[in-house]
């Protein structure tokens, strides 16, 4: 279990070594999430069309260790973009992965960039 958690570490934009192409903008749903696979990692990608922003985080729910976060609802809490896990509705900031319910679980986030209608996720390896 711990092995799988250690696969996911937040990557800051300044730490990106490789930008991985994960699909065209149109391949992703609007105002919702979808999942991509990069080697053994599953990454959830969200497109907030109202703000024209993209976010990415681990697909692994840190509470019960299931690959489900991409299927959760998104929105904002006081302006912070957030995600609600479909399992138990725990919510996380998509800006820094922190838990917004005051619990200990947090998630790893990844930088996203859009170039020429293509979506790229930044990894530090």
């Amino acid at each position: 279990m711990e092995e799988i958690v250690s696969l996911y570490q937040t990557v800051q934009p300044s730490e990106v070594i490789s930008w991985i192409r994960v699909g065209a903008v149109n391949d992703f749903p609007e105002n919702a999430g979808a999942c991509i696979k990069y080697n053994s990692r599953q990454i959830a990608v969200y497109h907030f069309t109202r703000t024209q922003k993209w976010y990415a985080c681990q697909n692994l729910c840190p509470h019960k260790m299931e690959m489900v976060l991409s299927r959760g609802l998104i929105g904002d809490a006081g302006g912070i973009p957030k995600l609600a896990c479909p399992m138990h509705k725990k919510t996380f900031s998509l800006e820094d992965g922190s838990n917004l319910n005051g619990e200990e679980y947090s998630i790893a986030t990844y930088p996203v960039k859009i170039e020429g209608g293509i979506v790229y996720i930044g990894f530090a390896d």
Binding site: A32, G72, E104
Partner: protein, 836 residues
Amino acid sequence: MERIILVGNGMVGYKFCEKLIAHPSRNQFDILVFGEEIRPAYDRVHLSEYFSLKSADELLLAPLNWYQENDITLRTSELISWIDTENKKVLTHKGESFDYDYLVLATGSFPFIPPIKGSEKEGIFIYRTIEDLEAIQNYADKLKAKGRFQSAVLGGGLLGLEAANASKELGMTTHVVEFAPRLMPRQLDQSGSDLLQSKIESLGLKIHLGKNSKEIVGEGKVERIDFTDGTTLPIDMIIISAGIRPRDEVAKNSGIAIGERGGVLVNNKMETSVPGIYAIGEVALYNQNIYGLVAPGYEMAGVALDQILGGSKLMSPSIDMSTQLKLVGTEVASFGDPFIEGESAIAIRYENKQRGIYKRINISKDGSKLLGGILVGDSSDYNSLFQLYINEMKLPENAEDLILGQRGPGSKSLLGSVLDLPDSAQICSCESVNKGSICEALKSGACTDLKGVIKQTKASTCCGGCKPMVVDLVKETLKSLGKEVKETICEHFEYSRQELFDLVKLNNTTGYDEALDHFGKGHGCEICKPVMASIFASIFMETANKQVAIQDSNDRFLANIQRNGTYSVVPRVPGGEITPEKLVVLGQVARKYDLYTKITGGQRIDLFGAQLNELPMIWKELIDAGFESGHAYGKSLRTVKSCVGSTWCRFGMHDSVSFAIRIEERYKGLRSPHKLKGGVSGCIRECAEARGKDFGVIAVEGGWNLYVCGNGGANPKHAILLASQLDDDTCIKYLDRFLIYYIRTAGPLIRTSTWLEKLEGGIEYLKKVVVEDCLGMAEEFENEMDGLVEKYACEWKEAIEDPETMKRFKPFVNTEESDDQLVFVPLREQKMPRPW
């Protein structure tokens, strides 16, 4: 910097830390905490909930990193074995020593094991820590595998009954053995105990009162208890809950003064006999007593801390032992002096065996003051009565009104307004928060709502018993400040669901973003999106495929997510009637996709373990065979359950199956504030359990009786008679009106029973709306329902016919692979997810 060493990391020790870090002088102290258990402090008050929790972590008062973040050094699994009071050092069981300036003993207590012969045998347990519960669970599992089910709890006090409930939850046949002639002898009188006994016996517990255990007999293992009266009880395991004893051994060995019968002697500053050493919680002997409740422990923690920091706070001279709790599903409360009667006091009793309620209040001879009381079966008046008692408030002229309620017109609540309480009235006794500080938090502007008040004052965060009173106080205070108190959906829409429903309808708003722009703010969230989706569906009968992004996760994928992120599939089987051909198809599909199958409570078949990408393929086959979506994933009509009725049953009066199918076909796909279930029974034997549903129809001489607003679940409610002896069409007409009225006016996730409770005028008013048409809207309601019924479409059929929709069910955007992280384990002849 001075160092505080705290010995013990239980609830009271934790409270000491919490109060320390909130103190302005925090930085002048270094704190080191020793805990003997492997986990940081957890909530022992709710220990019996352990079996229903996913993980023991949910009981923690704070996670491990809370201690780090607040610079508290916590050493778990370490015991202090000696205190060098001369040189101010403690020695751990590992032989390490640590210096202190102040030492606080919060070592708690241990369960008392009475000296009964045979109490060393295998199969005897105590009930105090998570490890105890785990040991009980493991042993019970082993017994059950061998077909042995008899478990006894020695002790019928508060903790004993908690333990008995836990044992019952584990599936054991549980006996409670109490030495006294009544249950909870410290809190209840004989009548209260009798009532509690009959209530919990009806739930399957077996009670043995006035029994003195002589010997526990068995070869190595527990087999039998012999009592002094010559009777015996064959038993497979025993949990002992015969009271607590303070953990004072380290204090005793180190020369700190101990009471005659144990406990570290303290004064009203929580000081022990050695300067610089304090004792708090269940180890402290204050006023010749050990207090086994959290509230006095928390007060002691506050006093000790204040004294160390140079303050002058003292412990209250007398400790209030009032308590309110739910035991084995029964509300029980006891306050003040529950037993006083005779020279100085008069007792007023109310007993209703039919409803399972016993209430007793003890008032002063002159009728002016409340001295104590007992509530069993219904403790909803506890908070008000407790306030009257503790604040010595003047009682109304007819003191019996306090337990009978005021009768006749113009009745008011017991207290009048909560605002009439004195500012010093303690509202939350666990966190010692008084009325003044709650009101001040709002008046000063520091807080603006309930959430803020709870966060700042911590009121109601411990046992939660005072929550209704805190809610009332906040509401009333805000009202008195001229601030409107509104039930709003969330931060994005400052409207109730009913207001949003009207806004969408009046403005003919058709999209979520449009609604957000016109009458909301921000970008929405997991609360308002599904609420709006439900409203759009109820007004325009749009399926979950139209505005996909605002659907709750299950509606988005038109299936129910299960433990490991796979889904379950439930096709509609109207009325529970299914042909052999269709049953074969379900079997074939389940076999082809290796799905776990189970019959649901609503007479349908649930197929579990489908992966996201398999859902459309499964549904294609089901739809080809004539199935439709069962909407098991939605807040919508689920099933209309039926008994076989007059076509086959020799008792049946009407054809319940045909009518159930007609009703289910009419309302299928109807989205509502919460799920909707129905039932139709062919006679009053009620085999369809229709009165446990949101609407239930039961055949009687001359037609159908229509019952509404029942449900099963955590708080079961029987549906109430709305109209009787109806013909088929009238019954449907009334159902149309009832359902539309509910859908239009209920709050989000409010089921019909709760909605009816809050509906002003209750069932009588509902009858006026539905049967007598007092609003003049019956026709509109019926037309509205006709419109919705006409627009019904199976959303799974829509989904598989649209290639764009199919993208939704692709596990990964950038590869065709399926999810390789899924693990199943065998279960009987099928499979299940790997357990959490």
